[in-house]
C-alpha cells in the first residue's frame, strides 16, 4: 500500500486509459470512489480531547479538507472455456485540494461521459411516435 498518489492531470490520462481498456475488452467494470482525506494532512488525526469534547467535531472542521478519488478496474483470472484472461488490478488515486474541486469535477464529468460509452443512448424514436407529446415536450424544454 505504498502507492503514490497521482497528480490530477496524470489521473485523468490514466482514467481515460482505464476506460479504454474496458472498452477494448468488451466487458468488465470500472470502480470510482471518493472520500474525505482525513489523515496525512495537517491537523489530523484530531487530538483525543477534541473528540471527547465534541462528538460531532468532524462536521465542522476549521479548514476545508482535500478529498481523495480512487479508480480501479476489476481483477480477473484466466478461466478455461471462456475468453477470460489474467488481468492485473489497476489502481489509481489522486488527491483533490478543496480549491480545485469544482474544476476537477468538470473534467471528471467529461472523462466519465467519454469513458462510459456502453450505456444506452437517448432514444429519439420515442418522441416521433406521438407528435402531440413531442410538441409539448419541446415547449417545456424551451421554457426551462
Amino acid at each position: 500500500m505504498t502507492q503514490e498518489h497521482l497528480s490530477n492531470n496524470e489521473f485523468f490520462t490514466q482514467l481515460a486509459n482505464l476506460f479504454e481498456h474496458n472498452r477494448k475488452k468488451g466487458h468488465g467494470s470500472v470502480y470510482l470512489t471518493q472520500k474525505r482525506m482525513a489523515f496525512d494532512t495537517e491537523g489530523y488525526p484530531p487530538s483525543p480531547t477534541k473528540v471527547a469534547d465534541d462528538p460531532l467535531w468532524d462536521t465542522h472542521p476549521e479548514n476545508p479538507l482535500p478529498i481523495i478519488i480512487r479508480a480501479s478496474n476489476n481483477k480477473s483470472d484466466k478461466r478455461p472455456g471462456t475468453d477470460r484472461k489474467d488481468i492485473d488490478k489497476i489502481k489509481l488515486s489522486t488527491i483533490v485540494q478543496p480549491d480545485q474541486l469544482d474544476a476537477f469535477y468538470v473534467r471528471y464529468a467529461e472523462a466519465c461521459r467519454a469513458g462510459m460509452s456502453g450505456l444506452k443512448k437517448r432514444d429519439k424514436k420515442k418522441g416521433k411516435k406521438d407528435k402531440k407529446k413531442k410538441k409539448r415536450g419541446t415547449a417545456v424544454e424551451t421554457k426551462g
Binding site: K35, T59, L65, R113, M116, K143
Partner: protein, 208 residues
Amino acid sequence: MPFSRSDYSPISPAKSYLALRPAPIPSSRYPTTAIAMPYFKTSTEWYEQSSLLLKARPTTTRITSKYTVLKPTPSKIKKRQKYLDKQAAKLADPSRTSSPPPSSAQNPEEPTTTFALKTYDPESGTCLQYETTKAAEVGRLIGSLGRLGRHMAALPEVLEDLSAPAEGTGLATPRIEDDIKVGGMGEGKAGGTGGGGGGGKKKKKGKK
C-alpha cells in the same frame, strides 16, 4: 442555506442521520440502528439522502461509483432470443395489428451496461444506492458527485448551490466560462454570487 430536515419528506428511510450518531461515545464500531440500504428510484432522491448522510458523517462516508459492462450468460441470451421470437410472432399475427411495433430490436448478445452509485458509511452501516443504464444521466450524476464532494471537503454550501446548475444542466458552451468562475471562487464570494444567481433560478424551473 441552513440545514433543515423539514425540507425532506418524512417517509424517506434515512431522514435523520444526525440522530443516528451516538452522542457520548464517538468511537462506536457497530451500527446502533437498523441498517438502511435502499435503492432509490430517482437520482435527486439519492442525492438528497446522500447529502444528509454526508452532513452527519463527513469523515467516514464514501461514495463508490461503478461502471460495469457485463456479457450476458448463455441462459440470458436464450431468454432474450425467446422474447424476440415471441415479439416477432406477435407482429406477424394479423389479429394484433393495433399493438405498437417493438421500439428497439435488441441484439440478444448485447452486453448489459450499468452505472451504479453507492454512498456508504461504515460506522452506521447506511448504504444508499442508485443505478442507471442511461448515458444521458452520467453528466448530471457526476455533477452531484461534485456537490457531494464539497460536503466531504467541508466547503461552504452556499457556493455549491451556485456552481451546481452549470454542471447539472450539461450545457456545452457555458461550461468553460463557469470553469473560470469556479476557479476564482476561492477569493471572492461576490463574483460568484453575481454570476451564479441566474443559474440557480434556471435550474429550479427546469426541475419543475
